[in-house]
Assembly symmetry: C2
Homo-oligomer: 185 residues x 2
DNA sequence: TCCGCTATATATCAATTTGATATATTTTTA
DNA sequence: TAAAAATATATCAAATTGATATATAGCGGA
């Protein structure tokens, strides 16, 4: 699913600007399964306009840059529909710097491993609180609500695993040669 | 963590060729938290050689292309060490076409949603069986074993959620306008 | 036995995406 | 009242993806 298709998905929920689409990826309903920054969103919207998959209306605002609001067309919806049933969705792509660092826990200092784990535990707790709030805004019977539940289940499992194995990770730290003596400043 | 640093990580487990590094990302011990294809691995290894972070030895093989085996240097290990303690690891990057499709379940056919979910359930079961086997090869006390456990916990939670909510997803399918009438061929 | 599929192995490259930077104003926080 | 965060779009070098090319060996099925 490329960035153009993902933008069309966001626009299915209502008209939006590039800035607002970015927020959907960052903290909104797509945040736990989609990615995309300004550098890909703005060019994608330009191409979608050229292809007639979206329309664009400039909303002049007082003392602020004009907001370009995008609206999905019938043709855009057809494109999205086709993309979603084209093939069985491919494997999730996951890139985790945390797991990379923890993989080599035995070559690092217990201090640093503790800091890294504690930061992530705090992050998961915050995220889960936020998502629980969001959940109350949807009807329980909608796809988007079930997908939110999926995200929460995965975050909860990650949190539980880190809490349960925090001491074990710290215990293996510093067991190999040349372990780091101090945590980053 | 860029691809060069990730390659150094793989080489910490032992000398390897580009092909073997790719396998680590695809099915080996890094498969559930790292990404990288030939198109990024080969250029990365060339740059690492130029920078003296790895050495390269060509192993002639009978009737097969020469295998270039890479070995991490002390300088390479220092680089990896520095990268791992540079800052608290950033958020995981997750891109899931499955969740994107399920998010719009109400615009799609129950048939298609069922196929998509069943395919993923089968995938998670296979993956978990494979990982359980791998787990027996490591000592329980190593970072890599704990990280494998993390991956398994996440896959198990995903599997459980899909199994528990399969019927709910199918029930919401086809509730909105213009739902797809048939699954892909 | 022959055909196709999978595995071993490296390499290239167009297209896409990332991540940083630039610009400018308003609103909120300390 | 000064600094920081939020609103808003845009660009671009660098990194990465995904597809393709090139060769050979081995294995299973018709």
């Amino acid at each position: 699913m490329d960035i153009k298709t993902t933008c069309l998905g966001v626009l299915m929920l209502g008209d939006a600007s590039g800035y607002e689409i970015r927020k959907s990826f960052e903290e909104g309903p797509f945040s736990h399964f989609a990615e995309g920054g300004f550098g890909s969103i703005y060019p994608a919207l330009t191409k979608l306009s050229q292809e007639g998959l979206v329309t664009c209306t400039a909303h002049q605002q007082e003392k602020r840059p004009a907001k370009k609001v995008y609206h999905i067309t019938d043709s855009g919806w057809s494109h999205l529909e086709a993309a979603m049933r084209e093939k069985i969705p491919s494997e999730d792509k996951i890139k985790s710097d945390l797991l990379f660092v923890l993989f080599f826990a035995d070559w690092q200092s217990p201090d640093w491993i503790a800091r890294v784990i504690d930061a992530r535990i705090a992050y998961y707790r915050e995220k889960l609180d936020y998502m629980a709030e969001c959940g109350t805004q949807f009807e329980k019977t909608m796809g988007r609500s079930l997908v939110l539940g999926f995200g929460m289940a995965v975050y909860q499992a990650s949190l539980d695993y880190l809490v349960a194995n925090r001491e074990a990770f710290i215990a293996v730290a510093g067991q190999a040669r040349s372990s780091l003596s101090s945590a980053a400043e």
